[in-house]
């Protein structure tokens, strides 16, 4: 088996004059949870559509489970469970019929279908509403049903676009725990598009941030902001930003302003903070606090995409 569940090289898609996705390159290892983050219109959904062969790339290449989704679309789609941002449930059918249709598509026998549909409805706590038309369902119920439909065939790869959108906190936790158990216990690969950065940081092994169709960052969500280096939050007094910026700091130390008197020091080794403190004291800059910190994914995300307009 290929070691990568998804491989993208220079993946691009053009709509007329507009580049929706440009030169994307990333790999998703088997059994990992990969977060794909970006503002609305960044190109996440277009990327998902290329992954499942719905859209032909304008340039570059993509392999899903070792196959080209355009050339071997049917094979790729039969091994992937997909939930798009618009869940796309059949409103005229009941919850049970929606799941039964997905199970029929996967070519299960009657007995298998019955068993899978029943356990899926219990899993998402919709068993009591199984024969109600989906048109009467809330947004959260639809999301859960869409997730159950993506899971019904036990796919090797789950591609989920905003699976927790519209869910209340209890259901968000339920979905998060479900995704973690799917990845850890069943070894499934999960490609997760989400806006919930705290959730992504908690459950993803790696994340990629996309902005304007381009990849702007990729890595471990807990180390993305500091490139894996130790960071400290410094609260200073008695020094303006020009003065601090002009200080001669040891090599490999980066001091960057945050809000007000707060600064962030990124160092190669935790012990390197000491010469930084000494330099600041020597320059008659007051130090009120030095706190080791972990740069949050949210902070890094906002730094990377916050300044640009969401289209």
């Amino acid at each position: 088996m290929d070691s990568q569940a998804i491989e993208c090289h220079g993946l691009s898609r053009r709509f007329g004059a507009r580049m929706a996705v440009s030169d994307l390159a990333f790999n998703v290892p088997h059994g990992s949870v990969f977060g794909f983050l970006g503002p609305n219109g960044a190109g996440k959904t277009t990327t998902v559509r290329m992954l499942v062969g719905m859209l032909r790339p304008s340039g570059g290449s993509v392999k899903v489970l070792g196959r080209d989704p355009i050339v071997e679309g049917e094979w790729v789609r039969s091994h992937c469970g997909v939930m798009l941002d618009n869940v796309g449930l059949y409103d005229r059918l009941s919850a049970r019929q929606n799941l039964d249709f997905a199970a029929r598509v996967a070519r299960f026998t009657v007995a298998q279908r019955r068993e899978r549909v029943e356990s899926a409805l219990h899993l998402i706590d919709l068993w009591d509403r199984r024969d109600d038309r989906v048109s009467s369902f809330s947004k959260g119920m639809r999301q859960k049903l869409g997730l159950a439909r993506a899971l019904i065939a036990d796919p090797e790869l789950l591609i989920l676009d905003e699976p927790t959108a519209g869910l209340d906190p209890t259901n968000i936790v339920m979905v998060r725990d479900l995704l973690v158990s799917l990845a850890q216990e069943s070894g499934r690969t999960i490609f997760l598009c989400t806006h919930l950065l705290a959730e992504a940081q908690r459950i993803c092994d790696r994340v990629a941030i996309i902005q304007g169709g381009r990849l702007v960052a990729i890595g471990d969500p807990n180390k993305l902001g500091s490139q894996g280096l130790p960071t400290f939050r410094l609260t200073l007094s008695g020094g303006d930003s020009d003065k601090i910026g002009d200080l001669s700091l040891p090599e490999d130390v980066q001091l960057s302003p945050l809000i007000g008197d707060e600064w962030r020091a990124t160092v190669a080794d935790p012990a390197d903070i000491e010469p930084v403190v000494a330099t600041l004291v020597g320059a008659h800059i007051g130090i009120r606090a030095v706190i080791p910190e972990q740069v949050s994914l949210e902070e890094e995300y906002l730094r990377l995409v916050g300044g640009e307009r969401n289209d």
Binding site: M54, V82, L84, N86, G88, Q97, V105
Partner: protein, 232 residues
Amino acid sequence: MIDLTTMMWKEVAEFFGNRRFLTIFTISIGLMGVLPLTTGVQGSPVAIILRGMFVLLATLMVVANTAPDLVLHERVGHTLDYLLTTRLPDYAIFGAKVFVSAAVGYIAAMLSLAVQLVATGLFGGTGWHWLFLSLPLGRVVAFGLTADLGLYVAVVGTFVALRVGEQRAAYMVTVVSVGVLLVPFLVGWLHVALTMSWMTQATIAFGVFSIALGLLGLRLFRREMLVLYLQE
């Protein structure tokens, strides 16, 4: 084949949850079943043609609504996007939509025929009889021509819906397309002596043409045609 039946199962299941379809289906059957009472003397060539026309109209009304709806409803509800992420092959998606809408049209025609029989028997003043079905010519129209028309409108309606994004517009375009393409056939029907041989040949020719159109549709259809934004 299993994929085709899976899609057909879904399309049929959806009909029962579609109030608009059920209304059109019922009205078409009722209207086209009762209106033939106004066609006058039993057994005259004009009455035969008109009564046959009512059965054909029932097919047209139902299929011209159903075929575009099967595509447009999926587009509006974003279920097309889901469908495109499944392993269902193109032929199953297209084939099921065409086959189910044609079948529904044929069933509507047969039911309107049954209503005609009952209505004429009860209110026609001439007692129970087989209307135009007692003539071989009538049977060709009722059972052969309606099947041809159902298939033809289903193929045209499905392809129209791939390009026209709104239900009413798709219905109108479908009816107009059918009207335009049927002109040569209807002109021939009215001007050529209404012999059994001519009608049989015309029905066979129309049937072959509709099947060829359906097969061409299967060949030309690509799943990405279902989503308008993918056509950019």
